[in-house]
């Protein structure tokens, strides 16, 4: 293939129809409270890991909802499971179980 000195830029667009939604289905089935997320970001704000690095649990959950699971594993592994997010969630989402289920789903659908 010819080298033009540039490559075709990868789309930043979330192409909802091209994604694998099995992970999301698995998490929702096993922790239905995740449905109620309103993306307020309280979890991220209190997150022990998030205060040290660019670890955004709200955004990760959001991307999971959109089927954007690439890179999810690397990110979710930064969670220390301390549970602060669960204590601040205004919608009473069982955030720790959401994370455990994401981890489980990653193993399952690898």
């Amino acid at each position: 293939m010819k080298d033009f000195g540039f490559t075709i830029t990868k789309d930043r667009q979330i192409d909802y129809d091209q994604h694998d939604h099995r992970l999301l289905q698995f998490v929702l089935e096993n922790e239905p409270s995740f449905q109620a997320c309103i993306s307020c970001g309280g979890c991220t704000a209190t997150c022990s890991a998030g205060n040290l690095i660019d670890f955004n649990i709200r955004k990760l959950n959001m991307l999971l909802r959109r089927g954007e699971t690439e890179g999810l594993e690397k990110e979710i592994n930064k969670c220390m499971l301390c549970g602060k997010c669960m204590l601040v969630c205004p919608r009473g989402i069982n955030t720790r179980n959401v994370i455990l289920k994401i981890k489980e789903a990653i193993q399952k659908f690898r």
């Binding site: 293939m1 010819k2 033009f4 540039f6 490559t7 075709i8 830029t9 789309d11």
Partner: protein, 357 residues
């Protein structure tokens, strides 16, 4: 898709287009990359329609590329445009035809600015006077060259030698139209049919027997974007936009793409080559790519002009499959000859995109 719905919108976006006596403003990209196009346009207006049109050798670029690449100031470009108005005024014309969509966008933007800020207009008059000693009148009517072809589409249809119909099947050719962002996205009222469902190219295609394809990414930019193309590091972004369009139109199996804007024609055409070289991908069934024509070239084909005189061999995607579908007569051995019949030699051929030799 409901046609009545579109008609309703087209009714809302009727545009006044002058009948005759035009001052012609050429396009940098069009005359350089598709030189047969403007030639054909003048020929159609003068010979077929008998119009008075002034092709003035004194006008320059509008500097739109520089302007959109942030190297030419708005004040500068306004003065350059003012000079063109002055040339038109001096030649005694009041109706301007602009060949380039970028220029068209700039002209409309400038005229709109002057309407809202008369002080700016005053200043521009001073600048022009100071710089060149010229004075100008604001044109009575401004049209894009495609608006003129659109206006006289039925006259052209009456003189047509070929129609946009597949000779083998009798079906209308499936045509993708692309009007170019600056034609009407900034000022929908200045475009025939507005910005969302523009009618300018669709009207021509319908009158000449073809069928327009409305695909999901129709409104998407071709990817030129000035800065995006001009800076090499950004070209990947430019090509990605064209690719998005090709992917979206592919399922419709279009026979050709017709473009309004010279920049779009160039990129829709040349990026097909680039993508084929980079990824081995082509967007038609047989590996030739989808021919990309300017509306003048399309009109020229319909009127039976020699495809090589129209400059179709200058395109990256070769048009023989399209010519065959339309039944256009052409001489393959004249493809690489100049007007005097001298053989110019073959260009280098692409690796993946098929070419009729």
């Amino acid at each position: 898709m409901k046609l009545e719905g579109k008609k309703r919108i087209w009714d809302d976006y009727q545009k006044e287009i002058a009948d005759n006596n035009y001052y012609f403003q050429r396009s940098c990209i069009r005359q350089n990359f598709f030189p047969g196009s403007e030639h054909a346009f003048l020929k159609i207006l003068k010979n077929e329609l008998g119009k008075d049109i002034c092709d003035d050798e004194h006008h320059t670029t509008c500097t739109g590329i520089g302007y959109h690449a942030d190297v030419v100031l708005f004040e500068t470009i306004m003065t350059v445009v003012a000079r063109h108005f002055a040339l038109m005024t001096e030649k005694g014309y009041e109706n301007m035809i602009i060949s380039c969509v970028t220029s068209f966008g700039i002209y409309t933007e400038i005229l709109e600015t002057w309407k809202h800020f008369p002080d700016v207009l005053k200043k521009v008059r001073q600048h022009l006077k100071k710089a060149t000693g010229r004075e100008f009148e604001i044109p009575k009517n401004i049209a894009h060259a495609s608006d003129i072809i659109f206006k006289f589409r039925e006259e052209i249809a009456a003189r047509a030698k070929y129609r946009l119909i597949n000779r083998n099947t009798g079906e209308p050719l499936k045509i993708v139209e692309h009007i170019g962002c600056h034609y009407s996205k900034m000022f929908p009222v200045h475009g025939v049919g507005g910005a969302e469902f523009p009618y300018v190219l669709q009207g021509m295609v319908e009158s000449w027997g073809g069928q327009i394809i409305d695909y999901p990414e129709r409104r998407h930019c071709c990817g030129f974007g000035f800065r995006q193309y001009l800076v090499k590091a950004n070209r990947g972004y430019s090509v990605a936009n064209s690719k998005k369009k090709f992917e979206s139109m592919k399922p419709y199996k279009p026979d050709m793409i017709v473009c309004n804007c010279p920049g779009c024609t160039m990129f829709m055409d040349k990026w097909q080559y680039t993508i084929s070289e980079m990824e081995g991908k082509t967007y038609d069934e047989n590996g030739f790519g989808i021919p990309v024509l300017t509306y003048e070239e399309m009109a020229g084909l319909v009127l039976g002009y020699n495809p090589w005189e129209l400059g179709l061999q200058m395109h990256e995607v070769q048009s023989e499959p399209l010519l065959d579908k339309m039944g256009v007569a052409y001489h393959p051995d004249e493809k690489y000859k100049d007007a005097a019949g001298n053989y110019l030699g073959e260009p280098a051929f692409p690796t993946n995109l098929k070419v009729c030799v």
